[in-house]
Every structure is written in C-alpha cells, then in structure tokens.
C-alpha cells in the first residue's frame, strides 16, 4: 500500500471505523455513569457514520444515497441525546445520583 495514497484507500477508513466501534463498546461496558455511557454511544454512532461514508465513497454507484443516510443517522443521534439527557436529569432528581449500580428500582 502506497503511503502517499493512504487517503484513497478504503481499508484505512474501514479499519478506523471498526476501531472506533471497539473503543465505544469498551467505554459502554466500562463506564459506570449514564452520561459516560451516552458519550460512548456517540462514538459508536460516529463509527457507523464513517463506515457508511467509506462504503458510499468507494463502492456505491450513487454517492448521494449514503450522504442522505448519514444525515439521517445524525438526526437520530441528536434525538437520542435529547431524550437520554432528559432521562438523566429525571433520574438524578429522583435518586440524587446517576451511578448505574444504584439505579436498581423500577416502579410502574
């Protein structure tokens, strides 16, 4: 692989996306607070977007479709952050804590 043509090589982007997904997954398991898990989830969204864009750039006949798809994912992640953070605030109000190992009650 020619190093100077690195930015034209789809493998670089695919491996980077896989690495981002792995880092996000690791953080999702390791973190013990809701906000930390949310940040790791955003990294996983970023990995999905990068993967889609790489495939869209190198292997798709119409590069418009993947960009619309990535715009859709960005909208979904913004909606997810809005909902998740309002839940975090509501949980903090009830428990005075957002540690995941203290959130052990359910009430219908």
């Amino acid at each position: 692989m020619n190093l100077l043509e690195m930015h034209q090589n789809p493998s670089v982007y695919l491996v980077l996306a896989a690495l981002l997904l792995a880092i996000g997954l690791f953080g999702l398991i390791r973190r013990h607070t809701l906000v930390g898990m949310l940040i790791s989830g955003e990294l996983i969204f970023g990995a999905a977007m990068l993967n889609l864009m790489a495939v869209n750039r190198f292997f798709a006949p119409d590069p418009t479709t993947g960009q619309v798809f990535v715009l859709f994912i960005m909208g979904l992640s913004a909606a997810e952050v809005a909902i998740a953070l309002s839940i975090v605030i509501a949980v903090y109000r009830n428990y005075q804590s957002i540690q995941t190992n203290e959130l052990s009650q359910m009430k219908g």
Partner: protein
C-alpha cells in the same frame, strides 16, 4: 486539472492529523476519569471525523457534523453535567475492577478484530461507474424527490424527541 506540485506531501500530514485526532479523541473520551474531559475528547473525535468526511468527498457532511456534534451534542451534554453530578466516585466498591475492564477489552478487541478482518480481507466489489458526483445540489434534489421519506421520517422523529424530552424533564422546577 493538474494538481499542485508535491501536493501529496501536504495532503498526507493533514490526513494523518485528522486520523490521529479521531483516535486520540475517542481514547480520551473513554479512558479519562472526569466526564468533562470525556466530553472534550468527544469534541476532538468529532473534529477528526469531520476531516474524514472531507477526505471522503463530502465537505457538506463535514460542516454538518461539526455543527451538530460540537455545537449541539457536546453543549447539551455539558448542560447535563452541570445539572447532575456524573463523576464516578473514587472510593466506591466494585468500581473499575480489573476483571471487568479486561472482559470489556476482550469483547471490544474481538469485535475490532472481526470487523477489521472483514474490511481488509473481504471481497469488496470493484468501484462501479458513478452516476452522480454527490454534490450538495444532488443531496438537496434527492432529499425532496427519491429520499423524501427519510426526510419526513427524521422530521417526525425529531419532533417526537423534543416533545418527549420536554414531557420527561418538565416537572422539575419545584423539588419536593
């Protein structure tokens, strides 16, 4: 159009800079102890990802990514950090036990190896003839014609999300 002489020696460091920003930001976001530094890592990773989008022939998505991720997502998370106290206590029992961290690393490493092997060894098709150049004009036309269902769906999802966020968080002014 003939490229600028020796332009590849300019492009390569910029590409490596964005690549490094993505990786370093992601690692900071996951490994640091304080959540506020974690948000800064997420912002750094977002800058790197925007650069990646630029290199993937989509400057429009690069701008949108910075706008949404740094301008909206990171700021919202910082608001939540100021309203709650998300830092992990250092003396709590059972936190960061070594076996738990090792298990997480093993799971993440397995996923990474499988996906990286798939990306490197996979039988990817040859690049087809491209029917459009993926410009902003093409995106705009696609959003209003062939992809209009996605456009309407995301509008509906955002509306419902905003209403839901307000409904969940509204009864908070008076603490009992």
């Amino acid at each position: 159009m003939t490229p600028f002489p020796a332009s590849e020696y300019v492009v390569l460091p910029i590409f490596i800079l964005f690549l490094g920003a993505t990786l370093a930001g992601a690692l900071i976001a996951v490994f640091t102890k304080w959540i506020i530094r974690s948000v800064c890592g997420l912002a750094l990773a977002s800058v790197g990802l925007a650069g990646m989008f630029y290199f993937l022939n989509s400057p429009f998505l690069a701008v949108i990514h910075i706008l949404i991720y740094i301008g909206a997502v990171c700021i919202t998370i910082i608001f939540a950090i100021m309203l709650a106290e998300p830092d992990e206590p250092t003396d709590a029992p059972g936190q960061h036990s070594l076996s738990w961290t090792l298990g997480a690393a093993a799971a993440a490493g397995g996923v990474f190896l499988a996906l990286a092997l798939l990306g490197l060894k996979g039988d990817w098709p040859a690049p087809p003839k491209q029917v459009s150049d993926g410009s902003v004009e093409n995106i705009g036309v696609a959003l209003l014609t062939s992809q209009s269902l996605a456009f309407l769906t995301i509008a509906l999802v955002l509306l419902v999300a905003i209403l839901g966020a307000i409904a969940i968080a509204r009864k908070g002014r008076h603490m009992e």
